[in-house]
């Protein structure tokens, strides 16, 4: 069954991301064109639920593409190789942590919430079996 809904989930995520890019661009442009700064910049550590290099690369790229959020780096201590993923569960290898510079969230927890929402939508779109529970 999951094969049938996969293309639709993929397209759904693509449309959601296009909308997200437009709204966040509008936020940055508005801050840019109005006098003063209303940003609250900060760097957030985000433990992702991604299982392999492909997923974490895509997530980091999508975060960077959304204006206002910017991926600064990936914690290489918990880096998993493709071979490890096949034999072990994510719990054994630990989460892949990415560091994100956010402009308008206000706090690290708020940024994490937004990133978690985006990540869940992304994984629902690209994984055949759907989002992690």
């Amino acid at each position: 069954m999951s094969w049938l809904t996969w293309p639709f989930r993929c397209i759904g995520f693509f449309l959601w991301f296009a909308k997200e890019m437009v709204t966040s661009s509008a936020a940055v442009l508005k801050d840019n064109l109005t006098p003063g700064q209303d940003s609250t910049p900060g760097i957030t550590a985000f433990d992702s639920q991604c299982r392999n290099d492909y997923e974490i690369t895509l997530l980091a790229a999508l975060i960077t593409l959304t204006p206002g959020t910017l991926t600064l780096g990936l914690n290489s201590d918990s880096k998993v190789s493709q071979a490890d993923v096949a034999v072990s569960s994510p719990a054994k290898t630990g989460p892949l942590t990415i560091y994100v510079h956010g402009l308008y969230s206000g706090s690290a927890d708020a940024t994490r919430e937004e990133l978690r929402d985006m990540e869940t939508r992304m994984l629902r779109g690209i994984r055949r079996e759907g989002a992690p529970s």
């Binding site: 940055v28 910049p41 900060g42 760097i43 550590a45 960077t64 991926t71 560091y99």
Partner: protein, 122 residues
């Protein structure tokens, strides 16, 4: 002038304005990280508006293929390039302006391996 020409021209002008605003952002935003975000609006929405406008002016199937290729390849490469610049910015210890929190600094030990790496290379 048909409708498609008008739509195309309007889209291109809006795209060019997004680029101009992004250039203004580079001057106005206080630190390197925020400037990267300001340019990100041009690299994302700006380029899509420009090539979509060009497509509306000269609509054809080969042009649709070209526009899709431009958008996909551009977004993929600009994301990777942006991350490389952002990472280099942080490693060279470019200061953040009036930031509220920095969890990367907490995770980075004081004796910095990255700095050693940089000095070794130079």
């Amino acid at each position: 002038m048909d409708l498609l020409t008008i739509i195309g021209n309007i889209t291109i002008v809006i795209g060019a304005l997004v680029f101009a605003t992004a250039a203004l952002g580079v001057l106005r935003f206080p630190d390197a990280y925020m400037r990267v975000s300001a340019v990100g609006t041009a690299g994302g929405v700006g380029i899509v508006l420009l090539v979509a406008g060009a497509l509306a002016l000269q609509p054809s199937i080969p042009n649709v293929v070209k526009v899709v290729l431009i958008v996909v390849v551009h977004l993929a490469s600009s994301a990777v390039g942006t991350m490389a610049i952002a990472r280099a910015t942080y490693i060279t210890r470019t200061p953040l302006e009036h930031f509220e929190f920095d969890e990367l600094a907490e995770a980075t030990p004081e004796t910095d391996a990255e700095e050693d790496e940089l000095s070794e290379r130079s």
